[in-house]
């Protein structure tokens, strides 16, 4: 062994050589190609069966279905305890292979690229996959036959006819539906009803009343308004966009989604940004820029923050930290001007939470049949009971008292009547625009409330996206 030890590699040389090797393991680069290697092996044999009235999607009744559920705010119980048993009640020979993940992209993307994806995928969470890109790559199955199929338990109607308006449209890319957006989220300003009752604060419908109330709240030593700048500034983007739509109708948002020149410098957007910028200047706690959503939401539960812009998942998300003295309630965003084209009761409610069948899986029809099961009235009601979220199945949870926050959101919905609008899609279509809007909202709310800067920045990014040929474009009407 003496030859070994006398070898010319001493400690320093070794370290230096190790450094040279380290070069080639330069930072953060090699992980990129870890998921490349896209062999489009289209020769996977897909299971099919014969179509019949009882089996409208023509599934192979003996073929297994693999599903992946995102394990997040909604939990997974609705899949394991409701949907799967319901599916197996009808199709006892089709074995459901279930798994849950919090890292959707990390787990699913390599399988999509390898040509062996699960049949039904719940694309959600912070590790969400860019669904537009999935559609573009032909990885999502066309759901036209699912939506045209009869509903599982609402007789005489197709699946599409049982859903709330806009639900199918929201998962439609270039004319074809590719996703079921299952949960139905109502957006508004959330507050503690008990705190407001105690202080005899009434719910404002005009901007003047709104700011007057914010002044009162401030005088009471409570931060009147807040959102988390560190990771949840898109809640604020939603607030600004909703106000813009109320001023100038949903067309304002459609133009924005369609990347129409001048869509962001539109008067309605400018007025909305100006109004919110003033709220930022006067009523927000500047340190919220550095906080995460859970931190600000906790402060609200402690009655340190009065109003918080959010969707109807909030109550369920905060269930563990909500004290008995706190009762969630939601109000529509107040009218910004007296000339707003939509009434004060108008509300933004949108389908969300993507579920899709993989086009290149072993059993895409089975995946669709699973979706049809989820869209049955029975499954939808159980989902709402378990998760305290409404679903896109219209009226599935009517008359069922679930929680005060959800009841309040449901009330706001019925007050809005016809004035419920879907909102915008640019945040899922164009991630760059989404990122820019988050930053612009933070700048507006925490750094001086410059509405013109907000509009100009967004207009510039929007036009840059429009000109970038490498970004797949979508349109809506």
């Amino acid at each position: 062994m003496s030859e070994m030890t006398s070898s010319s590699v001493d400690r320093r040389t070794l370290l230096r050589r190790a450094a040279a090797v380290g070069l080639v393991a330069a930072p953060g680069v090699s992980f990129l190609s870890a998921c490349a290697g896209s062999d489009d092996s289209g020769d996977t044999k897909q299971a099919t069966g014969t179509k019949s009235a009882d089996n409208p999607l023509g599934i192979d009744t003996k073929a297994g279905v693999e599903i992946v559920i995102f394990d997040g705010g909604l939990g997974t119980k609705y899949a394991t305890d409701v949907d799967t048993p319901l599916f197996n009640k009808k199709w006892p020979d089709a074995k459901i292979t279930y798994s849950a993940t919090q890292q959707v992209s990390t787990t699913i993307k390599p399988r999509l690229n390898a040509g062996s994806p699960p049949d039904m995928i719940n694309n959600s969470g912070s590790d969400i996959m860019d669904f537009g890109a999935i559609v573009k790559a032909g990885q999502a199955a066309d759901l036209s036959d699912l939506f045209a199929a009869p509903s599982l338990d609402i007789t005489g109607k197709t699946v599409a006819e049982t859903l709330v308006p806009g639900a199918v449209q929201q998962g439609t890319y270039d004319g074809k539906p590719y996703a079921v957006n299952y949960s139905f989220t109502v957006f508004g300003l959330w507050y503690n009803k008990k705190l407001f009752d105690k202080n005899k604060w009434t719910i404002p419908t005009t901007w003047a009343d709104f700011t007057a109330l914010l002044d009162k709240i401030k005088a009471a030593g409570i931060t009147p308004f807040g959102y988390a700048g560190a990771n949840a500034s898109y809640y604020m983007v939603r607030a600004i966009m909703t106000s813009a739509a109320k001023i100038g109708t949903e067309q304002v948002l459609k133009d924005i989604d369609n990347l129409k020149p001048g869509a962001w410098t539109n008067d309605a957007v400018m007025q909305a940004a100006k109004a919110w910028g003033e709220i930022g200047n006067k009523y927000i706690d500047k340190s919220f820029l550095g906080l995460k959503h859970t931190e600000v939401q906790l402060q609200q539960d402690q009655d340190k923050v009065a109003f918080y812009p959010c969707g109807s998942w909030l109550e369920n998300e905060q269930a563990a930290s909500t004290p008995a003295s706190f009762e969630y309630a939601m109000m529509a965003f107040p009218s910004v001007t007296t000339a707003d084209k939509l009434p004060a009761t108008a509300i933004n409610a949108a389908a969300g939470e993507i579920y899709f069948a993989a086009a290149k899986g072993k059993n895409p029809q089975g995946g669709k049949e699973y979706l049809r099961t989820m869209l049955s009235k029975e499954a939808a009601l159980e989902f709402t009971k378990l998760t305290k979220s409404l679903t896109v199945v219209a009226g599935a949870a009517d008359g069922v008292v679930i929680s005060p926050g959800l009841t309040s959101a449901n009330d706001a919905l019925s007050k809005a009547g016809q004035d419920v609008f879907m909102g915008y899609l640019f945040d899922t279509w164009y991630k760059k625009l989404d990122d820019a809007s988050r930053e612009a909202a933070n700048q507006l709310m925490f750094k001086g409330g410059d509405a013109k800067k907000f509009c100009d920045t967004m207009e510039a990014v929007s036009q840059a996206v429009a000109k970038d040929s490498s970004i797949t474009k979508f349109t809506r009407s």
Binding site: M1, E3, M4, R12, L15, R16, A19, A20, G22, L23, V24, A25, A26, P27, G28, V29, S30, F31, L32, S33, A34, C35, A36, G37, S38, D40, S105, K109, L112, N113, M129, D130, G132, A133, I134, K136, A137, G138, Q139, G229, A230, D285, K286, S287, F288, L289, G290, L291, E295, K431, K432, D435, R438, E439, N442, F446, D468, S470, I471, T472
Partner: protein
């Protein structure tokens, strides 16, 4: 034994080498290939020549990220090495000499272990902990220490200081390793030399600059390259600590995070690969330059 040497060495190397070829070299080759494509990250792709690099040139965020990497590249190694050298010197030569033998300050054996602690924590955990230390409201550790009459410091939410906060964390985490590295280097410097110098009346400062530093040069060089590579990374810290994805207002944007955002969020894996290629050449150039510029005649 002599002619059995190579099979013996190869026997040890074959597995790591195979892993290295597949997961590092292979991945790099693929990255170079992808940088010339419009691959979104899903499905197929087309070759588009140098388009990605042209786009990179016009992308203001890329330049911001690059600038931040350069700032860190300049500041972080200097500060880390200076502090680590200082501590290593105190631990090894800084104390009173006893019986003619120089030694570290009192308790140096304990300090040596404590200094190494940060190195034991996963970077992700360090980032989460310091996220709380730098919390921007009263619940943040530093803000909690300040008197109530002060309005809270924003730290990571302040464009001017966000990058500094992240650099501080990186330096804090790295120092321990370099203290140990330099200590080992100093340990191998012969006591006779210190003794002789001390007899000639050299002060601690003279000892440091005339004896320790020159004899430690090779180790320093290695440290510089290591730290430089770390300065090009920063992904974990930025991903976990930064406000609003490398913000506020791109104040903490770095190249590695741009790769991540473009590849996995914006579905522009081809473009992200192009940034990867740039980062690869930057790292290579930096290391080659460092090794060349700092080259000296071997002392040992």
């Amino acid at each position: 034994m002599r002619h059995g040497k190579y099979p013996f060495i190869i026997g040890f190397l074959v597995v790591p080498l195979a892993l290295y070829l597949v997961f590092v070299v292979g991945a790099y080759l693929q990255m170079f290939q992808l940088s010339f494509t419009d691959w979104s990250g899903f499905g197929g792709y087309h070759y588009i020549g140098f388009d990605n690099f042209g786009k990179l040139w016009d992308d203001p965020v890329f330049w911001i990220a690059l600038r931040h990497n350069v700032y860190i590249l300049i500041a972080m190694p200097i500060v880390t090495i200076a502090i680590a050298l200082f501590f290593a010197f105190l631990l090894n030569v800084g104390g009173k000499s006893k019986g003619g033998v120089t030694q570290g300050v009192w308790g140096s054996k304990v300090y040596r272990i404590i200094f190494f602690f940060p190195q034991l924590l996963a970077l992700a955990i360090v980032a989460v902990i310091f996220g709380r230390v730098f919390g921007s409201d009263r619940s943040g550790m530093l803000n909690g220490l300040f008197p109530d009459s002060w309005s809270p410091w924003l730290f990571l939410a302040d464009e001017r200081w966000a990058l500094v906060c992240i650099a501080v964390v990186l330096i804090w985490q790295q120092i321990g390793f370099y203290v140990v590295l330099f200590s080992a280097g100093m340990g191998s410097i012969s006591q006779d030399i210190y003794e002789a110098a001390a007899l000639d009346g050299a002060t601690k400062v003279t000892l440091f600059f005339r004896i320790t530093l020159p004899l430690l040069w090779d180790t320093l060089q290695v440290a510089w390259v290591y730290l430089g590579i770390a300065a090009f990374d920063l992904f974990a810290l930025v991903n976990i600590m930064s406000v609003n994805k490398g913000g506020p207002n791109n104040a903490t944007q770095v190249l590695s995070y741009q790769i991540y955002l473009n590849a996995f969020q914006n579905s522009q894996a081809g473009y992200a690969s192009a940034i990867g290629v740039v980062l690869f050449f930057l790292t290579l150039t930096f290391a080659a330059l460092t090794l060349r510029v700092t080259r000296r005649d071997a002392v040992a």
